[in-house]
Subunit: 156 residues, 2 copies
Amino acid sequence: MAQTSVSFRKATEVDLLGIIHMLADDKLGQTREILSDPVDARYTAAFAAIDADPNQLMAVAVSPDGGLAGCLQLSFIPGLSRTGMWRAQIEGVRISADHRGSGLGSRFIEWAMEQAKERGCGLVQLTSDKTRPDAIRFYEKLGFVAGHEGLKLSLS
Amino acid sequence: MAQTSVSFRKATEVDLLGIIHMLADDKLGQTREILSDPVDARYTAAFAAIDADPNQLMAVAVSPDGGLAGCLQLSFIPGLSRTGMWRAQIEGVRISADHRGSGLGSRFIEWAMEQAKERGCGLVQLTSDKTRPDAIRFYEKLGFVAGHEGLKLSLS
């Protein structure tokens, strides 16, 4: 499958099941996600919240046959620091197993950077689990700088 | 000044000048912010965007005399991963020079964690510049785990 034939667009609810399967098809995701029919109601509620928020963009990479090749979420965040700079944040990046290693991931992140520029963001940021050294190298090759510690605290 | 007398609340536009001064009174912030009278229009525009967005909370710590003792921004972010979990993100934390070392920072972050719980978030996250080892230790003492790399890419 030629990577150039894959296109990127905003996700619709029709894509939700495919997105959840991609989130689950992952070393860390497989322990965190729930695959069921019908889809767990927390996913549909979360998708509705993302879809209703103009500062959230759930995006998918789609093959010409309509199959999902990847997903990511962009958040556009207004802020006061750096002279009132908006920033874009990327979360939940997945490339489907049959598209990995095709260069699609780079094109998808570059597409996300374009979305961020169009929204007037001065910065794109993301965090990557330290147990994913390949992912960290991938982002560094795209120009990201790992100058920050990413700290998380579970509330549950 | 007793730290227990400081209270926390949502910021209003009246607080904006004081917040910008706190953002600028910082090793990294002093090179990034612009102090002027009137306030640079990009700050007022950014404040308006934050204030209009129900998923953003610009918060201040205030002394009984109305003086600003600290600021931080909370972003409540819906997401599909981890079974549709919302997360809260903290940015732009500052404690004014005369309140540093008083324990106010810990109380302010714990207050932010309470706001995140009230909004149904399962996780609080932030990134801290690796050139701020004291800040990283501060967050680790509060229970944050530095398990991620924080990667950023400038678009300007």
